[in-house]
Amino acid sequence: MAQLISIDPVTRIEGHLRIDVEVEDGKVKDAWSSGTMFRGIEMLLKGKHPFDAQQVTERICGVCPLVHGTAASYNLDDALGVELPDNARLIRNLCLGANFIQSHILHFYHLAALDYVDVAAVVNYSGSNAALKAIKGKVAGLVKANDVYPFLPRYESDDYVSDPELATVLVGHYVEALEMRKKAQEMLSIFYGRMPSFVGTVPGGVTVQPTVSNIAAFRARLAELRFWIDNVYVQDILTVAGVPAYQIFFTAGDSGGNYLAYGGFDEDSNGTVKFLPRGYITGNDVAAVKEFDENKITESVKHSWYRDECEGLHPKEGKTEPEVGKEGAYSFLKAPRYDGKAMEVGPMARMLVLAGLELSGKISPDKQKLMPLVKSLGLDAKVMELATEGKFGILPRHAMRALECKLIADQMDVWLDELKPGEPIYDKKDIPGESYGRGLVEGPRGALGHWIHIKGKKIDNYQAIVPTTWNAAPRDKEGNRGPIETALLGLPVPDAENPINVVRCVRSFDPCLACAIHVIHPEHNGVKSFRVV
């Protein structure tokens, strides 16, 4: 008999997420994803100085302020007609890259790893490695004091990595990773002042000139991080992916085969060439990457707590009027669609778009970067097998995040070399009387778009569609599920008390709910009606 399992809060993500799954015969039969927190950030931007948008929107998210601040800067650049100097473009790339590194490390080790590693197994470590013995001492102390928070309680499962040697190594890396992501934040603050809530990018450019000394300070930390990504992060992913019990996760957790990337990291001054290319894929046809057209983005609110008048609009004229308790609605997230389709965004979308362009020869062999890396790690056969099967699940999502982290970190050394101390960093432009702008970037969690309408030199409307709104979206007008909802279908849940596979799947998307629920229409900010469910 079917049963409904509610998971609220889904922890080790950013923000407030509730997942309901209907389970029948030990498998997920249906799923609903609900965002349960609302702030309404854009409304306070109405009537404000357009430059404020960067500082305010970066407060949408404390994990990814960089991405919002960067999207807002590109958005304003577009509205103002800025010609971005190369130094500014490169510093923005470098800082965005540093944020990818800190975010990806944080995600795998601190948000996801506890779903796979048995921390308790560490007490059985019998090796002689001094660092690992110290980890064992730490965990043994917690166990002895009968105070094992925050590692316990947890969902129980018989497939945690429980080999004492391996578990201890991984827990050791969990602790090391805290220091590594801290270094990535230091790297950011060299150019951008501080993290989180940075200050170093502004409409028109950046605030800090590259110098021999800040380049050196950045490069020293980058070198350390690159070494760690190569030798620890990527290797740990390969190790976890090799665990026999996890083989089903190569395909389980597939989101439906549609992937979208706006493209990230500009390689030229007008942003036509991207280090991570733009494009979209439908029906898991990886080799057939299609050209992205930003006019095909719409948002549906049929099952969201917003008035029906907000249905089907492009974000340029988007409306966001909350209606808490609306019949049939179950989330503060809207349902963004591309050409009417739900799309997974994020590292897997970007890597599949890149792989598709490389495999189909649209990127010439001398410029390919992903497939050569995949080959060097011995993963090419696996990737081809999954592409043939037409399914990419939980493990590929983690693995591609790690590979992307390496690709970006390696490229950052190149960008550092291209900086030119003494050259311009800023293009000063007046605020126009009336103008539209948009800034499309890639954040660690996926495609992010900001749209602005300036009128009377002030902000008239500001809208954002963030990665998690794509991934954690509820059903749309046609009743089609969002990517996370689709990915949950069919997952094994043998024990209703311990739905570990459900959270494994949800976390593989690295959801960020504060990002996803931030909007309100500036002209209609009143709650129109309210019914307690």
Partner: protein, 370 residues
């Protein structure tokens, strides 16, 4: 100590760093070490909940150095609930909240990140499940539990309440939308629930990890609420005006202002007042403490201070990139009537001598007020 993987020498070094963090004399290191050792044997339980937050203060907390995050979370505190860190999810997770509140009433530290929306029955922020159910796709599903209800359950038993970050302390950006969401600062919610329960506000958007860790250690070592300013912020961290301690103060006094980021000679630390710097009205120790292991801070990145530690941030400090209007510069310190001020007024065309002169003679307000 050895059993926990920490050598004696490391521990004393760490006690010394703690003394430095709290601004205490190094002669107190042995005492701090003793207090910290006591702590390890009876780790205080921490419940860290999130309202209308962005997790920026949690991410900032992870950047802590002395002690580092792993030491704090595993060795010094018993972090029973933290939604971004804990292994548990769903029933298991909020079960810990409910159990700790019951079993350790009067003993736990409640950390609140993000403010609390009160409109529409609190439905703008929920986590965990109520006992009552409602129908959902043919099932009876347990209802979402509002943050307001959690506050009612958790506040009475808290030994101490820390509002972390400007949003929790003063409402911050979400409160600018209070007409819709009914957002309130933590201290205002607490007042309604348990009148005399003290709330320590640790401002900043985000909060600096040292401000939080320092306050917690101070509280645990000295077993008292640290000295607070009129906004209930620890004076140790929020007692000084940014402008007073700014590394670019000399440029301000000399009337050397940045007006275009391309004008900046990296070796010339030009004053950012004309770029909208809110340092003259913001109380925090950023200029001396700096951020991210001391690597930099906002003004160090050639960008204006946006005043994120002030109760008036963001709404009343906008536009962020326009010079402050009508600032009482004499609020800075008692030495304001120096030649520097006159020189600044006389040479800085954008500000105007008459403007600065107009400010002369006004009475200096208490810390934290503009």
């Amino acid at each position: 100590m050895e059993g926990k993987g920490v050598t004696r020498r490391q521990f004393i070094k760490y006690a010394g760093a703690t003394a430095a963090l709290l601004g205490l004399s190094q002669s107190l290191v042995p005492e701090i070490a003793r207090a910290l050792e006591e702590l390890t044997s009876g780790k205080p339980p921490v419940l860290w909940i999130q309202g209308q937050n962005c997790t920026g203060c949690s991410v900032s907390f992870l950047n802590t150095n002395f002690p580092n995050a792993a030491e704090l979370v595993l060795d010094k505190l018993s972090v029973r609930y933290h939604p971004t860190v804990m292994a548990a999810a769903g029933d298991l997770a909020f079960g810990v909240l409910e159990e700790t509140a019951k079993e350790l009433a009067g003993k736990y530290v409640l950390v609140v990140e993000g403010p609390v929306p009160t409109a529409e029955g609190g439905e703008f922020c929920t986590f965990g499940l109520e006992k009552e159910t409602a129908s959902f796709n043919g099932y009876q599903r347990r209802k979402d539990k509002p943050m307001t209800v959690w506050m009612e359950e958790l506040v009475p038993g808290a030994a101490a309440i820390i509002a972390l970050g400007n949003c929790a302390s003063f409402g911050g950006i979400p409160a600018a939308n209070a007409s819709v969401t009914g957002t309130k600062a933590v201290q205002d919610i607490v007042k309604e629930i348990s009148k005399d329960k003290p709330v320590i506000n640790i401002g900043g958007c985000p909060s600096h990890p040292d401000w939080f860790v320092g306050t917690v250690l101070d509280y645990l070592i000295n077993k008292r609420v640290p000295e607070l300013d009129k906004h209930n912020r620890p004076k140790a961290f929020f007692g000084k005006l940014i402008h007073e301690n700014c590394e670019r103060r000399a440029s301000f006094d000399a009337g050397l202002f940045l007006e275009d980021w391309n004008d900046n000679n990296p070796d010339m630390k030009l004053c950012l007042f004309k770029m909208g710097c809110k340092g003259p009205v913001t109380y925090a120790d950023c200029p001396t403490r700096r951020w991210n292991s001391g690597v930099n801070w906002c003004v160090g990145a050639n960008a204006p201070c946006h005043g994120c530690a002030e109760p008036t941030f963001y709404k009343d400090l906008s536009p962020l990139y326009e010079p402050l209007p009508n600032v009482n510069f004499l609020g800075i310190n008692t030495t304001a009537e120096t030649l520097g001020w006159v020189a600044a007024g006389a040479t800085a065309a954008g500000i105007g001598a008459h403007y600065l002169y107009k400010q002369l003679g006004k009475k200096a307000p208490e810390g934290g007020e503009q």
